[in-house]
């Protein structure tokens, strides 16, 4: 890593131990409060889904349409982010409640949970922002760093970004299928088709639910319900896209190279998570709506701690960063979005990669 050269190996180790201590304190304290939080959010998601569907199904006026679509969007956002994403990280496995079990949870999105868990929990969280290993960098569609090789296709990337935002759940699902391996020859057509089966099955049910079953149930209101469901899915897509792109790609969030991973120790992994993530500032409800991914830094440091604890942990992490004179990338939603948009436009053009990546690891850390 390039930035924290001012820290000696033993200081980095000490920093890691302090983060461990923060994590342990919170893990030891898990209990009723965490349960109540997630139960409250589940209740809210269920209630707003029911309200949204009732308003869409039985209303005839534009006001109930807007309210219904809004409520449905809210429920989808809560379900995907504060509930689904966090449950599938195993943040609530300790409750031993089957409905909060990371391995059996299936979220309201077209990507099957099992595949997503692998690409997200393993590839993205272990190799965060490492070029060539973390396929979440620009989702292999966008060039968000000068270190990604340029080609003329990227000239259109502002349009690609718009498309990805609108259809984010499909983008995530296709991304998990690793279609680019067809091009590189790493996978055969058959292999990709085999891989795609769970996705096709899940997507068919999801489409049937939102665009056939619920419209059909509403009889004459079918077009209205179909449109409401479509808008709710799009609303959720755009929101999720915005939150996730603000998490790793604003100015200042670093991209790493595979060579820098060699012999990486736990404390250095922490450091990489810190340097490769960015937070969004805001109030309680903004945090809930982002599934607390507004605290991307804390999420990457402590992916298995129930996310609603991140605001509390953030105070401790920030103080720690100040003491060690480490950057802590945070800003309002507007600032971070502007910063990401800037990158998307800038790197559409051929930008120069950062200088040689062969930083020498400090001798003590080179394993």
């Amino acid at each position: 890593m390039t930035t924290p050269t001012h820290l000696s190996p033993s200081e980095i180790e000490a920093f890691g131990r302090e983060l461990d201590a923060i994590r342990d304190r919170h893990l030891a304290d898990l209990g009723e409060r965490d349960r109540e939080h997630i139960d409250r959010i589940i209740s809210l998601a269920m209630t707003s889904e029911a309200a949204g569907r009732l308003l869409l199904h039985f209303g005839i006026d534009p006001i109930s349409f807007v309210l219904g679509t809004g409520a449905l969007t809210l429920s989808k956002i809560l379900e995907n982010m504060e509930i689904g994403h966090n449950v599938m990280h195993g943040q609530y496995d300790w409750t031993r409640d089957p409905k909060l079990d990371s391995h059996s949870y299936e979220w309201d999105a077209v990507s099957p949970s099992a595949g997503w868990r692998h690409s997200h929990n393993f590839e993205h969280h272990t190799f965060t922002n490492v070029l060539g290993k973390d396929r979440d960098i620009g989702y292999e569609l966008l060039r968000v760093s000068a270190d990604q090789p340029w080609n003329p296709g990227y000239l259109a990337q502002p349009l690609r970004a718009l498309w990805l935002a609108l259809a984010f759940q499909w983008g995530v699902a296709l991304h998990d299928l690793k279609l680019e391996e067809l091009r590189t020859g790493e996978s055969t057509r058959e292999e990709v088709l085999e891989r795609a089966k769970p996705f096709l099955c899940k997507a068919a049910w999801q489409v049937a639910k939102d665009y056939a079953l619920y419209p059909a149930l509403s009889g004459l209101n079918a077009p209205r319900v179909l449109l409401g469901n479509l808008l709710a899915n799009i609303g959720r897509n755009v929101w999720a896209f915005a939150v996730i792109f603000c998490g790793h790609f604003p100015e200042g969030a670093e991209i790493f190279h595979e060579a820098e991973l060699e012999g990486e120790r736990r404390a250095e992994w922490y450091l990489r998570q810190l340097l490769g993530s960015a937070n969004i500032e805001g109030g309680h409800w903004l945090h809930v709506l982002t599934g607390h991914l507004s605290h991307q830094i804390e999420h990457h440091l402590f992916p298995a701690v129930p996310a609603w604890r991140y605001p509390e942990m953030a105070r401790e992490v920030r103080a720690l960063c100040e003491r060690y004179d480490l950057p802590y990338n945070t800003g309002s939603l507007g600032t971070q979005l502007k910063s990401v948009a800037g990158k998307i436009f800038r790197h559409a053009l051929p930008t120069k990669p950062r200088a040689a990546l062969t930083r020498q690891a400090p001798p003590a850390l080179a394993a």
Binding site: R23, D24, L27, A28, L30, G31, E32, R33, D34, R35, E36, I42, S43, M46, E49, A50, H89, G90, D93, W94, T95, R96, D97, K99, S102, H103, E106, D108, R117, H118, N121, F122, H125, T126, K202, W205, A208, K209, L213, R266, W269, P303, A304
Partner: protein, 358 residues
């Protein structure tokens, strides 16, 4: 009521699966729960309808299960599930009542330092709702009732005998049955009044308590003198480990083990750090000795196994694997787990012999 073990019909199964894929089941169970926690789509839940003190350490809980309960056979047990500080815990308890009527009884002894038994005694109230597994276990009376069944029990090990004798009592078949029960003192005898009533109805009852003159606990000579023909009779034995051991030894001596049925109320193995343990891998059928150094993942790899893994530091859950039995410790939280449940191999170590679904 459905017959125990009967499977739901294929249409029922595919409807459930469609409802699941359309996410209707989550909605349905959420709203049903709001109306009444007993309303579930398949889980057995039961409401506490009575709490009866038996002795100073033992309390009986009368439960009324919801419609998903498929009944039990006398002598079987169930896994009781309660939530304590946000965490669900499951523990086995024998159903101490015979299979009649719409309630069932769990008779629970308070264990020193025990998480669940103390919670049940101190925290459970009439009206509360608990979870139950289906009835399980083969410590039961055969359909073809034996002529002269013999029950040898000690302490809270009397619970399966209470269910079986209750069934015999309901059928008017107590004559010929014998119960030899051991307890610490007269006041520690569970369901004493009922036992006396059953004795009046024909049960041959022998109660040995440690506060009486004579040997303490199970004594082979005294027992053989009390039931001289024991080695000829189908026998059901249940009690703490020392009682079980001495009794088994006596049956072995008389070559009567085939007629001895036993149930162990196994407590969780006491955790012990850093020594080598045996790991049984259920799928491959292998048994390995692990050296206790590092995570279970590392130890299994050193022993030649190749479990799936990803991050090797507890974040990706790729290495997750169901633990079937034994005690493990989560190296991140220090939490000890004694129940069957999935563990992450890369951040767990074994604290007793364990069995994994690998």
């Amino acid at each position: 009521m459905r017959v125990p073990g009967e499977n739901p019909s294929p249409t029922h199964t595919s409807l459930r699966s469609a409802a699941h894929r359309l996410r209707l089941d989550r909605q349905a169970s959420h709203w049903l729960q709001k109306i009444d926690p007993l309303l579930t789509l398949g889980e057995v839940r039961a409401r506490v309808v009575g709490i009866l003190p038996e002795t100073s350490e033992v309390t009986s809980f009368v439960l009324r299960p919801n419609g998903h309960w498929r009944g039990h056979r006398a002598g079987q047990h169930t896994l009781l599930e309660v939530e304590i500080d946000g965490v669900r815990h499951q523990r086995p308890f024998t159903i101490a009542s015979p299979p009649h009527g719409d309630t069932l009884v769990l008779t629970v002894k308070r264990i020193d330092g025990g998480k669940v038994t103390n919670h049940l005694h101190d925290g459970l109230r009439v009206g509360d709702v608990v979870g139950l597994s289906e009835a399980r276990g083969d410590f039961v009376l055969p359909d073809q009732r034996p002529e002269r069944p013999l029950f040898v029990t000690a302490g809270s090990g009397i619970t399966p005998a209470l269910a079986m004798l209750g069934e015999l009592a309901n059928a008017g078949e107590l004559k010929g049955a014998t119960l030899v029960h051991h307890a610490r003192s007269r006041t520690d005898i569970i369901a004493r009044d009922r036992l006396v009533r059953w004795a009046d109805a024909g049960l041959e009852l022998h109660l040995f308590t440690d506060d009486q003159p004579g040997p303490r606990g199970f004594d082979a000579d005294r027992f053989a003198a009390t039931v001289p023909d024991f080695d000829q009779r189908e026998t059901w034995l249940c009690g703490p480990p020392p009682v079980m051991q001495s009794a088994r030894a006596l049956w072995a001596l008389r070559d009567a083990l085939p007629r001895l049925h036993t149930e162990r109320f196994v407590a969780a193995p006491a955790p012990s750090a850093g020594r080598s343990v045996q790991v049984t891998l259920r799928r491959s059928g292998r048994t390995l000795t692990l050296d206790g150094r590092g995570s279970l993942l590392e130890q299994l790899e050193r022993a030649g196994e190749r479990p799936a893994y990803g991050c090797r530091m507890g974040i990706c859950h790729t290495c997750r694997c169901p633990k079937v039995a034994g005690t493990t410790r989560d190296r991140e939280t220090g939490a000890i787990s004694t129940e069957p449940r999935p563990i992450r191999l890369c951040v767990s170590d074994a604290r007793s012999d364990i069995e994994l679904d690998l």
